[in-house]
């Protein structure tokens, strides 16, 4: 019996996500999943974000196509939802900004004519949450990021590939995670 394994939703800060530009397919056929490899070696087919939706805009021409900007302590994510993400698009259409949102989605990349890669998220779901959940996510994501940084010496093929491609600077991403953690302290 064919059983499919659900892809884990990776925890990535906006800054690292934005600095990712290496995407690839696992396998050769049309149904092979797409992945985005981040500088700290996360292999991302699904991502979980909790942040502040600070802007939204319907940029569609014929049908609604929503673009949103979701901020975390390190930067922001772009999200795009259209007719193929009806629930997410509906939430974007109806909600107010700013608002705390939880998003489960797929990473997507776009290469511009001058060769730079833009990353964005295609949401599977968007839900309004509270500020506490956002703080828990920041701690959660910092922890996962630090875990990945300390695993950068592993022989794991994704880690090797990430280091080769990005020349990952540990100190840079550690201090990003550290700043995010400290921002949680400032609020109290």
């Amino acid at each position: 019996m064919a059983v499919y394994i659900r892809e884990v939703a990776q925890r990535i800060f906006a800054q690292e996500f934005r600095e990712s530009d290496l995407s690839f397919k696992d396998g050769d056929d049309v149904y092979s999943p797409h992945y985005l490899l981040t500088p700290t070696g996360a292999k991302v087919n699904r991502i979980f974000i909790v942040g502040t939706l600070i802007e939204k805009e319907d940029i569609g021409t014929d049908s609604e196509y929503w673009k949103g900007r979701v901020s975390d302590p390190t930067g922001s994510f772009f999200i795009y939802a259209g007719q193929y993400q009806p629930e997410a698009a509906q939430v974007l259409a109806e909600c107010e900004t700013p608002a705390f949102v939880a998003i489960v989605g797929k990473p997507s990349t776009y290469t511009t004519a001058d060769g730079s890669v833009l990353t964005s998220v295609r949401p599977e779901s968007i839900h309004i949450v509270d500020g506490e959940t956002r703080d828990i996510w920041v701690a959660d994501t910092a922890e996962r990021t630090l875990d990945r940084i300390s695993a950068l010496d592993d022989e794991d093929s994704n880690v090797v590939k990430a280091k080769e491609h990005y020349g990952t600077d540990r100190a840079y991403y550690s201090s990003m995670a550290l700043d995010a953690l400290r921002s949680l302290k400032d609020e109290i």
Binding site: E55, F100, V104, D140, K185
Partner: protein
Amino acid sequence: MEVANDIKDKFTELGVDIPVEQIEDRLNKLITKFKVPQDEARRSVVNYFLKEYDIDRSRFYSGQSSTTLVSIADINEDGQWVNVKAKVVQLWDNSHESISQVGLVGDETGTVKFTKWSRDDLPDVEEGKTYLFNNVVVHEWNGKFAINLNKTSSIEVLDEDLNVGNIPTGDPLSTSMATVEEMNEDGKWANIKAKVVQLWDNSHESISQVGLVGDETGTIKFNKWLRDDLLDVEEGKTYLFNNVVVHEWNGKFAINLNKTSSIEALDEDIEVGTTTVTFTGAMVDVQAGSGLIKRCPECNRALTKGACMEHGKVDGVYDLRIKAVLDDGVTAQDAIIKRDISQELVGMTLDEAVSLAADALDQGVVLERMRSMLIGKYYTIEGSRLDRYILVDSIDQISELNMALVDELIRDTEVV
């Protein structure tokens, strides 16, 4: 506020006068109440006023970016712009006058076809020499990748010799003890201690024994082959299986014994897969089949479109359940939450769910309600493992940030 004044000044330069209080209000709301970092908040406020006064954003911003150097193994996306350092391995005969040179280039990670066009007037390359190809575009055709040079590309001869090879492979096998739960990676070698739960009928003459083994963490299928001449195992007995390999097929894991494996009978009994487990993570999905469902009065199976797999069209009995996915960033864990716990979690009794559905003429509203209440929040569940599920006995929302954890993470990171 300095940022507000700065924004005000910029807009004044563009000929728009915005009261500084308006700018400050928006900034404060974003930064203080909604925890947005200052530069993000600044950017958002700027965008808001750009839109408000219909000003083109390029008048406010300008920027440029460059292509990155990648190795050939990383060339895997149609339309990608890259720089490549590679050696010309082969030059082929031109098949067309519009092509200036075509052939194969390679680096340590692999080889790729390249094409240089006559119209672009780029310098010729030579076999055996290494070059830096800047600003080239990846092109995919029939599932194969190639690189195309274009008029913005450049070629630089390098004074070095690259070793062209294929991607190095090879997994050193280190076999350490693992639990059944840890046998979840194709090609992983390990030793496991497990009890034979079931032996199945052989479906093939090359198979010596096939069945299910398990330990405290779960169960897994095993295959033993006739050619390997290993000890036969018995149901209900515990063994040490040394040097076995995980094999993945259609997303399911199994272990294969091989000629380097060994089986040792142990004089102990282990409890298989019924221990209580806990899992903490964010709820990332509430799946179809959750909410208000109907069950067969005969066998209690969930009905699909009013019919039971076993008993056909029946008059179903309402029930409430949640099929959830919790995710901690490492594992996506399926969980089944039964009626009593579901009722408590979403604050809705079965009767209320039934009447809610009746009012809406749609039992999907119950599922919708559950999704909007649960998804995106963090929970700890406790229960027993069954196959890929945890049958939930208790569930608690994590509603407060664990400051001790934050402090510990900060301390650990500062030390490094």
